[in-house]
């Protein structure tokens, strides 16, 4: 199953809007509640004071995801360094994507950007699983300088989604600034799916681009990660362990 990490500054009142649990109902969700402390404050000290409150809020959130039909767990981390924490937990749970939360009601149409450094077929595979058999339309978006090449790859991606019975449209932005073009295309959509920029989540999810997209698009942004070596290894180990236990049986 595919896992999506939802990082939230839990003690600063960050929460998820009603549409997100519904959208992620087809996924395994890990709600990562984090609290960033100034260096004057030992994380353990903050834990003693805030743990109960944060855990209660996280439990509620995880329940909201469960109630929408998904499966969800939660983690609570006290840290001095948000990026390190989000990266570490994402690797540990082998998350395939992150959600930048935004306001949304029910999701009818996704804007899927085939940009970033993530292979197009990883993004389309993710979207196919996310949509599942629900009535959610997809607009594929590609910004490129190479019009014929772009047209070809976007058509291939559209075909692979259409095969699964998903309603697909395409938007090709030629020689336009990619970010602005994406934001321009956003208003008629309820959420955005995009690939992570290299080299990691840091420059993307936490960088200015994701913030701008999330801020201007209002709705949630789901960022597909590159499968990290660690995550891949963990998964393989898991498979090996499964096999080993099957052999024992």
């Amino acid at each position: 199953m595919t896992r999506v990490l939802v990082p939230l500054a839990i003690l600063e009142g960050e929460s998820v809007s009603t549409g997100l649990p519904t959208l992620l109902a087809t996924m395994d969700v890990t709600v990562l509640g984090y609290h960033v402390l100034p260096e004057q404050t030992p994380p353990d000290q903050a834990r003693l004071q805030y743990e109960d409150r944060a855990t209660a809020a996280l439990t509620d959130l995880a329940e909201a995801f469960e109630a929408a039909g998904g499966s969800a767990d939660h983690r609570l981390v006290f840290t001095h360094d948000r990026e390190r924490t989000v990266d570490r937990v994402a690797d540990e749970v082998a998350a395939d994507a992150y959600a930048v939360t935004g306001a949304t009601g029910s999701v009818d149409r996704l804007l899927v950007a085939l940009t970033g450094n993530i292979a197009g077929d990883r993004i389309t595979a993710f979207v196919a699983e996310l949509v599942g058999d629900r009535e959610i339309g997809v607009t594929l978006f590609l910004a490129t300088d190479d019009e014929p090449g772009g047209r070809e790859s976007i058509a291939a991606a559209a075909d692979s989604l259409a095969e699964r019975g998903i309603d697909v449209e395409t938007t090709l932005a030629v020689d336009e600034p990619p970010l602005e073009a994406l934001v321009e295309a956003a208003p008629s959509h309820d959420a955005i799916v995009m690939g992570e920029r290299s080299p990691s989540l840091r420059s993307f999810l936490l960088g200015e681009e994701a913030d701008r997209v999330a801020a201007e698009a209002v709705g949630p942004v789901i960022v597909v990660r590159e499968e990290s070596a660690d995550a891949a290894a963990t998964r393989e180990q898991g498979i090996d362990a499964d096999r080993a236990s099957q052999l024992e049986d």
Binding site: Q40, T41, P42, Q45, L48, Q49, D52, F78, H80, R84
Partner: protein, 473 residues
């Protein structure tokens, strides 16, 4: 939150130590419901150790030490470094076995029991307060010299007001500041090290007669061996930073590797720099003249080798170094108070975090208030010695705790780093720490003993029913 019956008795107010099972990995401490990210790397840990220490040894002590011991003051610093190493090794073993906030207090309370733990924990608080006050007075001297270099001659009367002002500023900034200053601290330490290496490298070559004019030879230990030892006791304050690394042990990544490297490494780095600085300084002027320059003697040494540019560089370095020492110590003090309060030996309120800034304002205030009172006394040598006294007691007991733990060998005791030369190193470390106290001025000893008795009295009143020995998370 914690079950009163499970851990360690209760204090007068009915609070018990908060002890919960945890799992430690290289990146994170995992408790039942939450994770605590380890965010400090080796560079950050070294910066805490070096940043705390470097202010005192090079920028405040050379003149004072040379006045007392002559050129042999370099030997005093070497003795200090040796004692610090003898303690840093056992401290490293304990820290890797118990990578928790609180440092020396934690090891002693778990290894030897609540009374020594309470005395050490509270003495460490006061020791850090004395040390910070000492750094701040040093800062005051450099601030006045900075003004002098800028052409504003104010005289030494302004030293204490400036130190008080800055001390209050540091406290307030730590309560209200949420910007991450760790990177700044790393940068300051790197800058300081570069200034010092250029300065000491050139000065060292000059002093050896390889460049420049040969200096007049002078007697190495004009006052005999005894002042070398008493000076070692005085300047030991220059080595108090390595154990501060252990107060943030809970936040250091890969503690099994980084804690020993940071503690031992920072002692070695500053030890070499101190000895070189004294050697260069006494070669430039002769110890007698050096001592007449007082707390900021190094500025004159800088002027001697590099003209006014050298003086400005040293004044600037001195300002940065004393600032970083003071700031790092305030942070350690607040963590020391937190560790004791978590174990119900101080009111729990002491470690309360305010909602507005997310900072432990009560603990920071408990650091800042007494610091300012002590700065007002302006007694540099006394502040330094009492700080050393209280730390040395901790260091000695820390070595004893190591011996006790190794002997009892409880199942939870599984350090990643084991002290080489056991049991000689911890035994020597304990003896040397206690011996160094013997060479201090009588006043410092009396104040130190008084503080320890007061902390023991507090224990008897407040927390005598708390048990901590062997209570690990």
């Amino acid at each position: 939150m914690s079950d009163p019956s499970s851990a360690g008795g209760t204090n007068v107010e009915g609070e018990s130590p908060r002890v919960e099972p945890t799992i430690e990995t290289a990146d994170v401490t995992i408790t039942d419901d939450a994770e605590l990210e380890r965010t400090l790397g080796l560079a950050g840990a070294l910066a805490i150790g070096i940043g705390t220490m470097i202010g005192a040894g090079i920028f405040v002590f050379p003149g004072l030490a040379a006045g007392r011991a002559g050129p042999a003051a370099a030997g005093s610093f070497a003795i200090g470094a040796f004692v610090a190493l003898l303690v840093a090794l056992p401290a490293s073993e304990l820290a890797t076995a118990m990578p928790k906030s609180g440092g020396g207090y934690y090891y002693i309370s778990r290894g030897l029991g609540t009374l020594p733990g309470a005395v050490v924990g509270l003495s460490l608080w006061f020791g850090l307060v004395f040390a910070t006050a000492f750094y701040l007075v040093g800062f005051g001297y450099y601030a006045v010299d900075t003004l002098a270099e800028l052409g504003v001659s104010m005289g030494d009367g302004l030293v204490i007001p400036l130190a008080l002002l800055f001390g209050a500023g540091v406290t307030v900034l730590n309560v209200t500041g949420t910007e991450n200053a760790a990177k700044l601290q790393n940068g300051i330490v790197a800058l300081l090290l570069s200034i010092l290496i250029v300065f000491l490298g050139y000065g060292g070559l000059d002093a050896l007669g390889i460049v420049g004019e040969p200096s007049a030879p002078q007697q190495f230990a004009p006052f005999g061996p005894m002042p070398v030892l008493t000076t070692a006791a005085l300047v030991f304050t220059s080595y108090l930073g390595f154990a501060q690394v252990a107060t943030v042990a809970g936040e250091i990544r890969d503690p099994g590797r980084n804690l020993p490297l940071a503690m031992v490494g920072s002692v070695l780095v500053v030890g070499v720099l101190y000895v070189a600085a004294i050697f260069v300084a006494t070669s430039a002027f002769g110890s007698e003249r050096l001592s007449t320059f007082g707390e900021t003697a190094m500025v004159e040494v800088g002027r001697h080798y590099f003209g006014s540019a050298g003086a400005v560089a040293i004044v600037f370095g001195g300002l940065l170094a004393t600032m970083s020492s003071a700031n790092a110590s305030v942070l350690s003090t607040s963590r020391a108070i937190y560790a004791v309060s978590k174990d119900a030996l101080l009111p729990r309120h002491a470690s309360h975090i305010n909602l507005r800034y997310g900072t432990p304002h009560v603990a920071l205030g408990m650091a800042g208030g007494p610091i300012l009172a002590l700065v007002a006394t302006g007694r540099v040598e006394l502040l330094a010695e009492v700080a050393s006294f209280l730390h040395l007691v901790t260091y000695g007991l820390l070595c004893v705790a190591l011996l006790a733990l190794r002997r009892a060998d409880p199942s939870w005791y599984d350090p990643d780093f084991r002290v080489p030369g056991y049991p000689v190193v911890p035994i020597l470390g304990a003896l040397a720490s206690f011996a160094l106290i013997g060479f201090m001025q009588r006043t410092s000893q009396l104040i130190g003993v008084g503080i320890m008795l007061a902390t023991a009295g507090w224990y008897a009143y407040y927390g005598r029913d708390v048990t901590l020995k062997g209570v690990v998370e």
